[in-house]
Subunit: 223 residues, 2 copies
């Protein structure tokens, strides 16, 4: 059983809360847990349908995985975001599976998929909430697809670094070349080569496990 502060989060995030009968509100509350994921992969869409996540702290990466182990990051979720793609078993119309990974230790509310599904099947507002959340992620995925398929790699890498420093409020990016390659669905060698180029241009400084952005304006010219 979750506590009042978490019930308050549910009632804010689930925009259809006012359209629920009391017993359905209780049903959701009784089948929501407050849990923490350690850094690392924890969800494989092919086998799991853990439920709807509401992210309280930390961040998650949602990605595709190929048979030979290649990863494509589709989008990320952070505090306040909702993940419905960790409950694709609820949806009639969604037939693909994604994987989730906690990027840091992350606290979430997790709503049981069967309970949510039961409520959505009789409450159109709850069902519509699910599909609208999915549509948001559709937009995220289309943006990523556009990036991967159409954009030149210097542009993508520059944009990625700029996003990172703005996201973290710091001009240092603590990621290895290999990690960046995974984020950009590229190879480590390609990332290293382009980073060396940026470094030679005086846009960034490279040291072990970190990249310091020294000329943001210069980097923006690429993006």
């Amino acid at each position: 059983m979750i506590q009042d502060d978490n019930i308050s989060i549910l009632s804010q995030v689930l925009t259809f809360w006012d359209k629920l009968e009391s017993k359905d509100k209780n049903l959701i509350v009784d089948h929501t847990i407050n849990t923490t994921y350690q850094q690392g992969n924890f969800y494989s869409g092919e086998n799991d349908c853990i439920g709807i996540l509401i992210i309280k702290s930390g961040s998650f990466r949602i990605y595709l995985l190929s048979e030979d182990g290649r990863e494509i990051t589709l989008f990320r979720l952070e505090k306040g975001d909702i993940c419905v793609l960790s409950a694709t078993c609820i949806f009639e119309n969604i037939t693909f599976d994604v994987n989730l990974s906690a990027e840091v230790e992350s606290e979430v509310l997790l709503i049981n998929p069967k309970v949510f599904s039961k409520i959505a099947s009789k409450n159109i507002y709850a069902e519509n909430f699910l599909y609208k959340e999915a549509a948001k992620r559709f937009s995220d995925v289309m943006w990523t697809m556009d990036q991967i398929l159409f954009m030149k790699f210097d542009k993508r890498l520059a944009l990625f670094l700029l996003n990172e420093i703005s996201r973290n409020n710091s001009n240092i990016v603590y990621l290895t070349h290999d990690q960046i390659a995974k984020h950009l669905s590229s190879a480590r060698e390609v990332v290293s080569r382009m980073l060396s180029y940026f470094a030679k241009e005086g846009l960034i400084k490279l040291s072990r496990g970190e990249i310091t952005i020294v000329n943001e304006t210069g980097l923006e010219k690429f993006s």
Copy 2:
């Protein structure tokens, strides 16, 4: 004003029809046209929001277009299918644009987006219909993305040819190598090389503007 047979199509395809007041049914009927598109591009998401399409005959290709003119086919729509991505201005949560092209002369019912949007804003069933249709296409796009990003080209081309002959009920594919390249987001040279390989393996026969599948089982081994 559309005729009774078209109203009957609307009432079947729009699964929320029974949940509409009479005046809203009339509003939709009054703002739906029966129209024919000639073969070719007719819709650019960046500028247009023509409305919701219900395909009566023919087929459409929905694709992304890069700044430098490259195309990526996302999915196709055929008789009985509904297209809501030709009305993205209706959606709060969809922020990307696609392009549409009629592959052959195609007849459609076209519902005015402003009228639909007005109805969806006060009728949750109409709104939910939109988002559920969008979710179907989300699945299509994810499938395509998986294909493009992860699959080896021989597999993709074999699968494409098999899909074409099953779709057209004929073992001849009337497409140029350039057209196939566009469908598969590849280059003409790559397509030609792989087709020659398939021909040498005795799976297909090549002649000007057409490809005859002579060994379907053999092709299936690649796909």
